[in-house]
């Protein structure tokens, strides 16, 4: 019931945006900005690029407002745009170009997170190593498996929404997830 209400709310806001209501666009941005940026960050593992891609996602939502039809859940449409842009960026090979310069940024972010936890230096280093292993394990997954795991684990999207975002069937999503988690269980087993 709550999900249906959320669907109606987002779709209703988007329909208002279509009618020219800028406040509704602001409300949608406020609600989905974080999830979209976080999803893209985990997909491309680069904070600056993830924000750039998130901007493009919302810009495309705005540009498409005139032709928007609430045929699917708003989040499915939103994450489909985000997934498309992320996969394009990964396939374009820009990942390698930006990785070196931005890895420092990632580390700084990690350091900030660690510092906030007020742990000992040894614990901080251990935490950082483990975090890097998690990131690498996810980064090494095939693109669609990576997107499916991130949407399932971190964005709390259901199978139908993930299927809509990846343009595949629900059974294909279940299969993608099972294989992805199987790989992650093997890669991260030593961290248990």
């Amino acid at each position: 019931m709550e999900a249906v209400a959320a669907l109606e709310r987002d779709a209703e806001l988007m329909l208002r945006v279509r009618a020219g209501d800028e406040i509704s666009f602001g409300l949608l941005l406020e609600k989905h900005r974080g999830p979209v940026v976080h999803f893209l960050y985990r997909m491309v593992q680069n904070p600056a690029v993830s924000e750039e891609l998130a901007q493009e996602v919302f810009l495309r939502v705005y540009k498409s407002r005139a032709t928007y039809e609430p045929t699917a859940k708003f989040t499915t449409w939103l994450f489909r745009i985000a997934t498309h842009l992320a996969l394009n960026w990964i396939r374009d090979g820009r990942k390698e170009k930006g990785q070196e310069s931005l890895s420092q940024e990632v580390l700084e972010g990690t350091e900030r997170q660690v510092a906030d936890r007020r742990q000992s230096v040894e614990q901080e280093m251990l935490y950082e190593v483990k975090l890097r292993e998690v990131r690498e394990a996810i980064a090494r997954l095939p693109e669609k498996q990576r997107a499916a795991v991130i949407m399932h684990k971190y964005q709390d999207l259901g199978y139908a929404e993930i299927a809509g975002s990846l343009k595949c069937s629900e059974s294909a999503v279940k299969s993608l997830l099972f294989r992805a988690y199987e790989t992650l269980r093997a890669r991260l087993a030593h961290m248990a």
Binding site: R33, A54, L59, R60, Q113, I138, L177, R185, L188, A189
Partner: protein, 158 residues
């Protein structure tokens, strides 16, 4: 209950159980099975470990000027001429692939049709040429007949 690892539903049930999204009515049944099934117990434990490990990866904070940058880009878009906005919408649609597929197919079909017409052009010309040559032949025949008429001596006047 049939063991989920051996059944078709294994992925869904065990993943949902570990993600705590499994229907409550099925949780009790599955937990009862897990108590007696070593394979499922091992898988669930490993999956929960992975789940907990993935939790370590906390997201980065969004830049405070994110919205300002976005609205600046939107203002730039709104200020652009209509034809430019139309071009952007056509070449950078929200979800591009599906929309372009029929256009690409149509273009490919047209290209094949045009190629086919070009290849068969000599055949198209042939009937025209044939008509022309037939015309020439008739003219020649008529001329020859006239010549023959001239050769025939006129009948003597009675």
């Amino acid at each position: 209950m049939m063991c989920p690892i051996n059944g078709k539903e294994s992925a869904e049930i065990l993943l949902d159980y570990c993600a705590q999204t499994l229907d409550p009515s099925r949780v009790a049944e599955l937990e009862k099975h897990i108590e007696t099934c070593g394979d499922c117990r091992t898988l669930v434990a490993a999956q929960r470990e992975v789940w907990a490990t993935l939790d370590r990866w906390t997201p980065v904070e969004v830049s405070p000027n994110f919205d300002a940058r976005l609205y600046a880009r939107i203002a730039q878009y709104d200020a652009a001429p209509q034809w430019k906005q139309w071009m952007w919408r056509v070449f950078q649609p929200a979800v591009p692939v599906a929309r372009w597929k029929p256009v690409v197919t149509l273009f490919a079909a047209c290209a094949v049709l045009v190629m086919g017409l070009l290849v068969h052009m000599p055949d198209l010309m042939t009937p025209h040429q044939q008509v022309r040559s037939e015309k020439v032949d008739i003219e020649q025949v008529e001329k020859t007949l006239d010549d023959l008429d001239m050769l025939i001596p006129p009948a003597p006047a009675s």
